[in-house]
């Protein structure tokens, strides 16, 4: 019979001696596998639960960081505010939704649910990438319509992926909907932040220049020749938040 201590040592050796690339590759493969399992249809709740039993937060962190970075890059000004708001909403929102489900009597694990909610933001991350692409390639009203449609589809996908898991969490009678509504609100708020993150138009520029430059589209304001006006108007716009 094998000596358990020898077995333990050999297991430890196998990961300590491997290269950094091997360790990272293993984690990347695990994150990729979980993304596929959680977000694509075909697995039952029990299978997902078994898969996420040894939960990790690398995947959700990667997704949240990517989302926050893309949206802060796209933001014209105050990128750090956008980044921090996304971060706080994703993590604090997931935590509040999970605690709410636990308080309602659901039999769920905190970090496992956090892991799952984080992975289910992945469709919204895909839609963010698509929005970024359409903004660059197409632009204008058509891009806005495409952004809206893709975010709505991604939102439905995220809600479907996470709610089928949450709904099976053995809640007491009459509380399943109470636990699912915050999940809906959570993904709706993330989707909403993606939509407002891709705002293209500057309201103050359009209002102040309306009589003289009625023929211009707002995109013209970003031409090099109008640089000073854009700076002034963006400053006014950001001061207007105190209405």
């Amino acid at each position: 019979m094998a000596n358990p201590f020898e077995m333990q040592e050999s297991t430890l050796d196998s990961t300590i001696d491997e290269s950094v690339w091997e360790s990272i590759k293993r984690d990347i493969i695990q994150v990729g596998r979980r993304l596929k399992l959680v977000v694509l249809p075909g697995l039952s709740t029990e299978q997902i639960q078994a898969e996420l039993r040894d939960w990790e937060l690398w995947g959700p962190l990667f997704i949240c960081m990517s989302l926050a970075i893309i949206l802060s890059v796209v933001a014209n000004d105050d990128a750090s505010l956008v980044f921090s708001v996304i971060f706080v909403v994703v993590w604090a929102g997931s935590a509040v939704v999970t605690i709410n489900a636990q308080l309602l009597g659901g039999k769920i694990s905190f970090f496992q649910t956090l892991c799952l909610l984080g992975y289910c933001i992945f469709p919204l991350l895909i839609s963010t990438g698509l929005c970024f692409l359409w903004n660059k390639v197409i632009g204008g009203t058509i891009a806005e319509i495409l952004q809206f449609v893709s975010v709505v589809i991604a939102l439905s996908w995220s809600i479907w992926a996470s709610s089928s898991f949450m709904a099976d969490a053995r809640f007491p009678d009459g509380r399943k909907l109470l636990a699912l509504y915050p999940v809906l609100l959570f993904y709706l708020s993330v989707a909403w932040m993606i939509l407002i993150g891709f705002q293209q138009h500057n309201r103050v520029a359009a209002d102040s220049q309306a009589p003289a430059q009625a023929g211009e589209t707002p995109a013209d304001a970003t031409d090099v020749g109008d640089y000073d006006e854009v700076i002034l108007e963006e400053g006014d716009a950001s001061r207007r938040f105190l209405f």
């Binding site: 709410n100 407002i196 891709f198 309201r203 359009a206």
Partner: protein, 268 residues
């Protein structure tokens, strides 16, 4: 903080009272609205500590989850009834027999209000603006943060302030009940906000005013009228009641009016 059982005006009971008391122990009429009842509905009977797998108990006990679980002891039907009562406050009982106030409603109605303010003000801008221009991303994010701070502050801090003032003058109910009432009172304003995204600003204003009036009446009924009907708030004989009552009424009306103005005019 001790109990004020002796005073004729006080019927506040500590929430951290250890002895479980059943409803009806204090001599109150059978038709009492339980939200205004001086004793908490038996907490030990209804509290259900959520039992999850091996991870949640250690997390839960550290965050004191169990102490909040009794305020989430609601079902979908109960929440729906309470929301309907806040929309039609002249009908029915807000806190029905056998149930206590909850914190689920205030929390999620407030979050819904924040998101609805953000979404409807954006839609309003798109409808009203001349050439399709709307606020920039950072302005929108500032609006979101401002709406969150104001609405959450009103529901949780404002209700605590009103509760504290009422308690100082020796009247009042449980803090959870006050927060519950304040939270559910946002529901008419949420609906009004969603309706008021037409291009006609007069219609929008009228809708928000109607919503605000319903909400204010709901607050008045739950925090004052029921107490007066049950004889627990007796203003008739005591002259000294006028000033505290007026002060409390003014403070809570101002707070509510401020919220209504914010909802009506935010971010246009």
């Amino acid at each position: 903080m001790g109990r004020n059982r002796g005073s004729e005006f006080t019927f506040l009971v500590e929430e951290e009272d250890d002895a479980p008391v059943t409803t009806g122990q204090v001599g109150i009429q059978a038709s009492v609205d339980e939200g205004f009842q001086p004793v908490p509905v038996n907490p030990t009977a209804v509290a259900k500590a959520p039992v999850a797998d091996e991870e949640a108990p250690s997390t839960g006990s550290w965050w004191g989850i169990n102490s909040y679980a009794k305020h989430f002891n609601v079902s979908y039907g109960l929440v729906k009834d309470r929301l309907l009562c806040s929309l039609l406050p002249w009908k029915g009982d807000f806190i029905s027999e056998g149930n206590g106030p909850d914190l689920y409603g205030p929390l999620w109605v407030a979050v819904t209000m924040v998101i609805s303010i953000s979404i409807t003000s954006e839609i309003q801008q798109r409808i009203l603006s001349i050439n399709g221009a709307v606020d920039t991303t950072s302005v929108q994010f500032h609006h979101l943060i401002l709406a969150f701070v104001i609405v959450m502050g009103y529901v949780f801090l404002g209700s605590t302030a009103v509760w504290a003032i009422r308690r100082y003058y020796g009247i009042g109910c449980e803090l959870v009940y006050t927060t519950c009432v304040y939270g559910y009172s946002l529901m008419p304003l949420v609906i009004a906000k969603f309706i008021s995204i037409t291009p006609v600003w007069v219609f929008n204003l009228v809708v928000v005013i109607v919503g605000w009036t319903i909400s204010a009446f709901f607050l008045y009924k739950q925090l004052w009228q029921i107490g007066m009907e049950q004889g627990q708030l007796d203003f008739a004989d005591s002259v000294s009641w006028r000033r505290p009552a007026q002060l409390i009424a003014v403070v809570s009306t101002l707070l509510h009016a401020g919220l209504g103005a914010f909802v009506a005019f935010a971010f246009r």
